[in-house]
């Protein structure tokens, strides 16, 4: 069960520095541009 405390803890957790090498997942779409955008 999610409690007020748990939400507060989760918010606090977000402020923890991410480990070195952490790469956030890219959004599923659109994909990367291989050459250039026009």
């Amino acid at each position: 069960p999610v409690t007020k405390g748990a939400v507060a803890n989760a918010a606090q957790h977000d402020k923890v520095p991410r480990p070195v090498g952490f790469v956030p997942l890219p959004p599923p779409c659109p994909g990367k541009i291989r050459h250039f955008d026009i």
Binding site: P26, C29, P30, G31, R34, H35, I38
Partner: protein, 259 residues
């Protein structure tokens, strides 16, 4: 029986990219005009399960024009994408594919191509040449003169124009026209064609009977005409008439739809 790989979900998933590349090859194989296109971006993908190991995949793809004519035997992987400064042409494609037990097939594709706007190029490169209309009088004059000149110099087959691929006109500092065009070999020698070129028939539509030429026509301050043709059935360029070291400028390209 090994299980089929999971259905693609993200635009950059390896399965999605592999399927998109199959789609791009299909599009190039079914297009008979202009140049080969390369994948620039998977814009969107939707997978609709149809049953066990059976999915429909709907793609939106952004492609970019390469320098390889569509009739060129050069594999797409070796084709250079035209730079932004060359006045890039983009292809927007909707593709419907089916994947059954991991085997992909294209059911339908619909593409629209368009050149980048002149304003976009002018913003970042005021001096860059722009595409010229393919039915521009100066372009037609340059192509006709170049092909006549080539045919007057060659001892091989008389070449006939198939289509103009790109053209550009530069006005400053030198007034020049640069055009690229596809040609087909005929059953006449260039010498035989002098008597009656109209009687010369294109040879069977085998890739070895096609070629591609680039022409540079200088108009002012001095007049000059240079043409370079590569015939796909030949290992060497013949006759070789060198191009200017830095060809001229300007383009305009009509949109092209395929389905």
């Amino acid at each position: 029986v090994p299980a089929a790989p999971p259905a693609p979900s993200g635009c950059d998933d390896p399965e999605s990219v592999a399927a998109a590349e199959v789609a791009v090859n299909y599009i190039n194989d079914h297009n008979h005009h202009g140049y080969k296109f390369a994948l620039n971006r998977v814009k969107d993908i939707h997978v609709v399960p149809q049953g066990p190991n059976n999915d429909l995949i709907f793609f939106e793809l952004d492609l970019l024009e390469t320098r390889c004519p569509i009739l060129s035997p050069t594999p797409l992987a070796n084709c250079t994408v035209r730079s932004f400064a060359e006045h890039a042409v983009e292809g927007d494609c909707d593709v419907k594919m089916q994947r059954v037990d991991g085997t992909l097939s294209v059911l339908a594709s619909k593409c629209h191509s368009h050149a980048d706007s002149r304003e976009d190029i002018r913003k970042v490169c005021p001096e860059c040449p722009l595409l010229a209309s393919l039915n521009n009088t100066e372009v037609l004059e340059a192509v006709s003169a170049a092909l006549n000149y080539y045919n007057s110099k060659t001892t091989d087959s008389y070449l006939r124009l198939l289509e103009i691929g790109r053209a550009k006109i530069q006005y400053h500092p030198v007034h020049s026209v640069v055009a690229e065009f596809a040609v087909g070999a005929t059953n006449c020698s260039a010498e035989e064609a002098k008597a009656n070129a109209g009687a010369c028939q294109l040879l069977p539509q085998d890739q070895s009977n096609f070629g591609f030429c680039t022409a540079v026509m200088l108009k002012r301050p001095s007049k000059d005409l240079q043409v370079d043709c590569q015939l796909y059935g030949h290992q060497v360029r013949a006759p070789h008439i060198p191009l200017l070291s830095r060809p001229g400028v300007t383009y305009v390209h009509p949109g092209q739809d395929t389905s």
